[in-house]
Chain length 156, copies 2
DNA sequence: AGCAATCGGAACGAATCAGTCCGATTGGAA
DNA sequence: TTCCAATCGGACTGATTCGTTCCGATTGCT
């Protein structure tokens, strides 16, 4: 349950790109310098994020990248999926592939979809715009979640 | 953003153990047979789950394991953490370790704690008891999440 | 006291991931 | 119009982590 370094870097990088907002195109070199991410890695990330449609890239001299959408409509889930691929906790969430041995008999499989959606929802609820706001409360989320991880004890 | 196979197996295995509930001690061999998990792997999981305090183990002839707590008070987060270690999306969530190069300047770091809590909360909200209930709604979650995973149709 | 069955930890192999490099494409300048 | 320079895009290599398997230590029953 940890984010890959690439995805982590991507978030930092998108956040940096958001600061340059719509105004100027920023090249990967500048983004790398601002974030401290190694240049080759930054280039790789720019590439993937562009392919996913989160960044618009312009090639040639003076080229660079720019957010394809306003920061408020780009979520963490979008970024993570752009870098790591679809968010699925287990392989059995994908109905196409049938790799699990006990498919039909498995008691927990039906519930995995809900769990997967919950985790994905948690990431989808945070946008790039949220990452620029007050640190303490990122707060576009429903208050219901707070108790769940405040004391983190789930009592029967 | 995917669960490790070990953690996945652990959930299935705990679910299987829950079905034997408090009554009889079950040995790793039986659990492996019921779930289809390779025996050595099942043994490893039993080991870790016991160390984490989720299972109580009895050695010797006729020994086995048993849930240490009622199914309702064992959450997915507990199981995942027992197998994979603490849930932390990024290394910078841990305030002890300072590995990230730009620590203080990082804009997104303050928000990661919230994101981490949300994801963890999503897992903590689902208990072993929930995994035995009706497939459609495991739900303590808000209905907002539904659209996110409505597409992936669970077949009961 | 002996035996059998179990848990616990250690070593091996495989897969994935992070990082780096080079080629293809594009825009501007002469 | 031609050349050049800077960029994105994909392919390769090395390292880390994960998954699996095996063997030893411990414990309860006979």
């Amino acid at each position: 349950m940890r984010l890959s370094s690439l995805a982590d870097y991507a978030v930092v990088m998108m956040s940096a790109a958001a600061r340059h907002c719509g105004r100027a195109k920023v090249n990967a070199t500048t983004l790398a310098a601002e974030t401290g991410i190694p240049l080759p890695t930054a280039q790789k990330l720019v590439s993937r994020l562009s392919t996913a449609g989160l960044l618009e890239s312009s090639r040639g001299t003076g080229g660079g990248v720019r957010l394809a959408r306003p920061p408020a409509s780009i979520s963490l889930a979008d970024i993570v999926e752009a870098v790591e691929g679809p968010i699925q906790m287990t392989t059995c969430v994908d109905n196409e592939r049938h790799e699990c041995a006990l498919e039909g008999a498995c008691q927990v499989r039906p519930h995995m979809g809900v769990v997967n959606g919950a985790v994905r929802g948690a990431l989808a609820a945070v946008s790039l715009a949220d990452l620029s706001r007050a640190p303490a409360k990122a707060g576009a989320q429903s208050p219901d979640w707070t108790p769940a991880f405040a004391g983190e004890q789930v009592s029967a």
